[in-house]
């Protein structure tokens, strides 16, 4: 299951990054809080496939499917 599959109002734990995601982006995502073991909540899933809003600690980020599909969650 990927982060993009997370439904609005639900949460999960980041498991890993897909190898397709470049290493520097993995580092940046980790610095922003999207690192393995971290608890992520999907706070908003706008219609028509728009980027979704995810909460990590006290910060909200918008990620589109090109990134969220490369983050696996458990």
């Amino acid at each position: 299951m990927t982060l993009w599959d997370l439904k609005q109002g639900t949460s999960a734990t980041v498991e890993s990054f897909c190898t397709a995601l470049q290493s520097e982006y993995r580092t940046r995502l980790s610095e922003l809080g999207f690192h393995p073991g971290e608890h992520i909540a999907c706070v908003l899933s706008p219609s028509l496939g728009a980027p979704k809003l995810y909460r990590v600690n006290n910060t909200v980020y918008s990620l589109d499917d090109s990134v969220a599909l490369l983050i696996t969650i458990a």
Partner: protein, 621 residues
Amino acid sequence: MPLISKTILIGSPNSGKSLLFNQLTGLNQKVANFPGITVNIKSGKSTVAPELVLMDFPGVYSLHAISGEEKISVDAFYAGLKDPEVSSVVCVVDTTRLEKGLIFALQVINACAKHNKPVMIAANMIDVLNSHGMTMDLEGLAAALKVPVAAISAKSGLGLDHLQELITSHRDSPSPYPSDIDSKGNNIIASDDSIVHRQAQQLAASFGPKGDILINSQTRLDQFFLHSWFGGISFILIMFLLFQSIFTWAAPLMDGVESILQFAAVAVLPLLPAGAISDFVSDALFGGIGAFLVFVPQIFILTLVVGMLEDSGYLARAAVICHKPLRIFGLTGKSFIPMLSSVACAIPGIYAARTVDSPRKRWLTYLAIPLMPCSARLPVYSLLIAAFIPATGAFGGVVGWQGFAMVSIYLFGILCGLLVTALVSRTSAALQTDLPFVLEMPPYRLPSWKPLLRNAWDRSKHFVTKAGKVIFMVTVVIWVLGYFPNQGADLGQSWLGHMGKIIEPAFAPFGLDWKYGVAILTSFLAREVFVGTLGTLFGIEGGEENIISLVEHIQNSGLPIGAGFALLVFFSIALQCVSTLAVLRRETGSWRLPTQLFVSYSIFAYGAAWLTFVTVQSIAG
């Protein structure tokens, strides 16, 4: 200790760093650079300690750069740490999002330790925590980090005196972490990313504010502004206001600039001897330079409104709304505002593209901007549509053909821009770094007007002083070519006129004679010059104002209908605006992109105009 000591202000975007800088320096700033590093760093003297110079470094999320631009900013920070005049570093942290800020702060503390520079934390937005009844353990955090922590509000000014005292008293004091090792030999500040993250998490949990009030209120507003219906309606309303600000609110100011220039011309011209000097001042200075100065109010107002949207947090939401449709064309949601601004004028649009953080997406946005139907095209479209499209309508006159033609040519320009970016994004190699769409949703806030006004002023000044030089040079060249050798008596007999006749065969394939060739050449200065030049060539004084007479002359000149359509298509594509080219050169740092765009869009415009001429003529018989 050197007489002048410098303090670096560093922080993540949206941490309130620049607002703090403005408060500490009282807006008395200048732009500086470290040798060999081309990044704008604002510097200003402290209002309480004149020997102290504060330096506002560009906001970065991390000291691990993932794009060329970030690397430049990070390199500038490291160069600053090596500067002997730099006596301390202040890292600004947003206390409402403490963990994220602490990850960056720990990186900064680590870097400062390696360079033996004292560092302190400015815990910003403490007023927001207070207003929600939340607190944090600042002393505990300072003790854990072993660096001073000052609670501040850059917006209200709360705690700034204490921060200034800390800066003054701690400068040049030894770093608490020589060689990363504390007095007991433990590695306090880890450089490993995962450990840094865990430390930040523990510190935020131990000393940070507790509760979800802030994030919950932000989410409620997001549910409205990103709602399928309400979000769409509010987006349209806000964009309508933005568009109004560019066109309607800027109009009186633009008229004001024009009046001042006219007044100055009336005052100055009689003092000059009649002849070339007087004509130069009248046509090249007041006419040519004045034509670009009238855009200054538009740039000022647009920068102000876009800055307000950015400060309020709405710009990030607009980017989310627009991202999906624009991604089809290789762009990002952040490209929307620059493109919308360009419908008024490409120049503020190019400046607004600074908000696009991905270098590749910004580059693609630059490709689309010159094709947006800017206001300078409007007089040309109005003239050609009035000359070639009948003033009748369909459905009992409900839909006028002239209005339909105007909407069509506007949409044609937008479509061309999107198709170009779609094509280039799919076929060109990625020379620039492309960042994934990961956008921090800043909290909703009331904007701070002072820095917004300052930024709008700086941007306007930048346009006048930097782009103005190039515009002035080109204006002089065009004026000389149009004035000599017959002292402006007859544009047709000038060097420019001769050039028009030489290039006449180039425009003949779409039915244009030398007069239109000259008008196209002069419209390189600004597209609307086309109308004035045609007026001059047809012997009409004030071609812009006397448009009906000019329309009749064009209709009676025997120009085929296909040529009129071809001109419309040509002007919707060709990059004939020296101001746009000059600003693009300033923003990209070289002539490469402006030259590429000018040449490729000229060829594209020529080919499309020829195709239009052939098609329309074959239909018209």
